[in-house]
C-alpha cells in the first residue's frame, strides 16, 4: 500500500471529501468547462479576474478523488496570483506529476508548488495524470475563455 498512501495522502482525501471553493461564481468574468472522457469527470472553473489578478476562483462538477482534490487545491492556490504566474505554476505541477519515478523531485519546483507537492504520488500512476491535470487544463481555457469545453483527450 506504500505507493497508494503516496497517492491518496490525507491532504488529498481531505480536499476530496470537503472540496474548497466548490461553488459557482456569480460574478465570474472567465469560465470554462473541462471533461475527461476516460473517467467521465466533468468540471467547470470560474474566475474573477481584475487588473490581471485572480481575485476569486471556484469550481463545480463531479469527478474522482484526484481530480476533485486537484481542482480544490488549485483554486486555493491561484487566488490572489497574477495571471502571468499561472503558466509557470502549471508547468511545475505538470512536471511533478509526470516526472520519472526514479528521479528526485526538483527542490525549487517543490517549493514553488507549496501544498500542491502532495500530488507527487500521481507519477506512480501514469493513467491518473489526466485526473490531476484536468482542473489545470480547464483553468488555462478559462484564462483564455475560449468558450467551448476543453477535454483531456
Amino acid at each position: 500500500m506504500s505507493d497508494l498512501r503516496d497517492l491518496y495522502q490525507q491532504t488529498i482525501l481531505d480536499h476530496t471529501k470537503r472540496p474548497r471553493n466548490f461553488h459557482e461564481l456569480t460574478d465570474a468574468n472567465h469560465r470554462a468547462n473541462g471533461h475527461n472522457p476516460l473517467c467521465g469527470d466533468k468540471l467547470t472553473v470560474y474566475l474573477k479576474i481584475h487588473n490581471d489578478i485572480i481575485q476569486d476562483a471556484g469550481f463545480v462538477g463531479a469527478g474522482c478523488a484526484i481530480s476533485t482534490a486537484s481542482a480544490s487545491m488549485m483554486t486555493e492556490m491561484i487566488k490572489g496570483k497574477r495571471v502571468a504566474e499561472i503558466a509557470p505554476l502549471f508547468e511545475n505541477f505538470h512536471s511533478l506529476v509526470t516526472a520519472p519515478v526514479d528521479m528526485e523531485p526538483d527542490e525549487q519546483r517543490l517549493e514553488a508548488l507549496d501544498k500542491l507537492a502532495v500530488f507527487s504520488g500521481v507519477r506512480e500512476f501514469p493513467v491518473r495524470v489526466k485526473c490531476a491535470t484536468l482542473a489545470w487544463h480547464t483553468l488555462q481555457a478559462a484564462l483564455k475563455d475560449v468558450g467551448g469545453p476543453v477535454s483531456t483527450e
Binding site: M1, D3, L4, Y8, L13, T16, C39, F125, V127
Partner: protein, 429 residues
C-alpha cells in the same frame, strides 16, 4: 442407409466438441498453469486478472502456435508454388475450419477473418448496409450495445438514409421484450444485438429475438464478442444470419476475429476492401471477385494470428464450453454474494441470465479511485463507461467498476478482490 461416409464425418466433427461429455474434470489450478501471465506479479503482488471482458489472457498453446508459425511455417498464403507457402495456407485454412466447426457453421467458406469484432461489424455495416439499406429502413439496436455495434450503424444510416431504433432495457439490465416486439415492423431490415452485455453481463435471449425478427422479415446480427469465450455458441441453435466475434477475448491473439454469415448473404454482398487475394481478374477497366471467403479478405491477413486463434479454439474445446460456462456461473454466484455483502456496494446489472461480469459502484467513491487502489493490490479490473455510454446514461452514472471473470479465475481471486474493496472503503472512510 447408404449415406456417404464423408457426410457422416463432417456432421460428427461439426457437433463433436460440444456434444462429447467432459473429457476431464475441471481442474482450475491445472488450467492456471497453462497461462504464463497468471504466474506473474504486478506491483509486487501476484496478479489477479479480472478484466477478461476487455481482453483475455493467452495459454501456452496459443503463444506456442505463434512462435511455431514464425519459426517454422512463415510464408505468404495462397498461390505460393513452394511447400512452405502450401503448408502455411493449409494451416490458415485449417484454423478457418476449426472456427466454423466451433460455432456450428456448415462450411469454413462462411467464415471471414477480420481484425476483431469491431472490424467485423464495420464490414457488415459497410458492405451489407450499403447494398441493402434504403431511406425509411430501420436498424434495430439495443440500449446495451457496445459502441462498436452502434457507431458503424450510425455511419451506415448516414450513408443510406436508414434510421436507428433502440430497444430499451429495464433497471435490472434485461431487455424489454414487449418493446422489442412493438419496435419490429416491415421497415425493420436488421436486428443487431449483443449476445452478452460487456457492461452488465446480461445474456440476451438471442434465439427468441431472432425468431421474432425473422417473422418480421428482418435479418439478425449477433455480436458474440462477450459470449463466445464463455458459453456454447451455435449459429444453428440461434438461427441468426450474421455473427461476429474477436479472437483476443477468446484466449487468442489480438488483431484476430471472424465474421460468420450465410453463404448466400456473403455471395450477394459487395466487397468491403479491395486489393490482392480478393480478386479473380483485374484489368484497368474492370475487376471480378474471388469466391467467398477470399472476396472479403483483401491483402495479406494475420496468418500467424489466425492459426493461433485456431489453437485457442482447440484449447477451450478440449476443456469444453459447457464446463467453462458452469464453472464461471458458480464463480459468478460466489462473487456476487461476496461483493453484495460489502456495505455501500451496488451491483449494476442483475439480470436473471448473466455471464460472469460484475459491474458495481460504491457509494461516494469514484470507480477510477477503486481501480487505482485495486491496482496497488495487484488486481486488474476495468473502470469507466466500458464503451457503453448509453448504459451509463441509463443509470445516470459516469462510470462503473467492472470485474469480469474467465474460467481461470478462482474463489481466491474473488476473496482478494473483496478484501481489497474493504481497503478502498478504509482509504475513503
Amino acid at each position: 442407409m447408404n449415406m456417404p461416409t464423408a457426410q457422416i464425418a463432417a456432421n460428427s466433427s461439426r457437433h463433436g466438441p460440444k456434444s462429447i461429455a467432459p473429457r476431464r474434470p475441471f481442474d482450475v489450478l491445472k488450467i492456471r498453469g497453462d497461462f504464463p501471465i497468471l504466474q506473474t506479479q504486478v506491483r509486487g503482488k501476484p496478479l489477479v486478472y479480472l478484466d477478461n471482458a476487455a481482453t483475455s489472457q493467452k495459454p501456452d498453446a496459443v503463444i506456442a502456435a505463434i512462435s511455431r508459425y514464425y519459426s517454422h511455417q512463415n510464408a505468404n498464403i495462397h498461390r505460393g508454388v513452394y511447400k512452405l507457402s502450401a503448408d502455411a495456407t493449409a494451416a490458415y485454412e485449417d484454423a478457418r475450419a476449426k472456427i466454423a466447426s466451433f460455432i456450428d457453421a456448415s462450411s469454413p467458406a462462411e467464415i471471414v477473418f477480420v481484425r476483431g469484432c469491431t472490424e467485423g461489424i464495420n464490414l457488415l455495416a459497410s458492405s451489407w448496409g450499403s447494398a441493402n439499406l434504403r431511406p425509411g429502413d430501420e436498424i434495430l439496436l439495443s440500449e446495451m450495445e457496445h459502441h462498436s455495434n452502434i457507431v458503424p450503424w450510425q455511419l451506415a444510416a448516414q450513408r443510406t438514409g436508414a434510421t436507428i431504433r433502440v430497444i430499451p432495457f429495464a433497471d435490472n439490465g434485461e431487455l424489454n421484450m414487449e418493446q422489442f416486439a412493438s419496435l419490429l415492423s416491415d421497415r425493420t431490415r436488421l436486428l443487431a444485438i449483443t449476445h452478452v452485455s460487456n457492461a452488465m453481463g446480461t445474456i440476451n435471449p438471442v434465439k427468441q429475438m431472432t425468431e421474432l425478427a425473422h417473422n418480421a422479415g428482418a435479418l439478425v446480427l449477433v455480436d458474440a464478442a462477450q459470449s463466445i469465450p464463455h458459453l456454447p455458441v451455435s449459429i444453428r441453435d440461434i438461427g441468426c444470419d450474421f455473427l461476429t466475434f474477436s479472437g483476443h477475448k477468446m484466449f487468442g491473439p489480438t488483431g484476430t476475429g471472424a465474421v460468420w454469415a450465410k453463404k448466400a448473404l456473403w455471395d450477394a454482398m459487395p466487397p468491403y476492401q479491395g486489393g490482392g487475394d480478393m480478386i479473380r481478374t483485374v484489368t484497368f477497366e474492370k475487376s471480378t471477385w474471388n469466391e467467398v471467403p477470399h472476396k472479403f479478405e483483401a491483402g495479406t491477413p494475420d496468418i500467424g494470428g489466425a492459426i493461433a486463434l485456431g489453437a485457442a479454439v482447440d484449447y477451450i474445446s478440449a476443456i469444453g464450453m459447457e464446463q467453462i460456462a458452469q464453472a464461471e456461473h458458480e464463480l459468478l454466484t460466489y462473487a456476487e454474494n461476496r461483493l453484495g455483502a460489502i456495505d455501500g456496494l451496488r451491483i449494476v446489472g442483475t439480470a436473471a441470465q448473466k455471464a460472469a461480469v460484475i459491474s458495481f459502484i460504491i457509494k461516494g467513491i469514484h470507480p477510477h479511485d477503486i481501480g487505482t487502489i485495486l491496482d496497488g493490490e495487484g488486481i486488474a479490473i476495468r473502470t469507466g463507461h466500458h464503451c457503453c455510454q448509453p448504459v451509463m446514461d441509463h443509470y445516470g452514472i459516469p462510470a462503473t467498476a467492472r470485474a469480469s471473470l474467465a474460467f481461470y479465475n478462482t474463489r481466491d481471486d474473488i476473496n482478494r478482490l473483496a478484501e481489497a474493496l474493504e481497503k478502498v472503503k478504509e482509504v475513503f472512510a
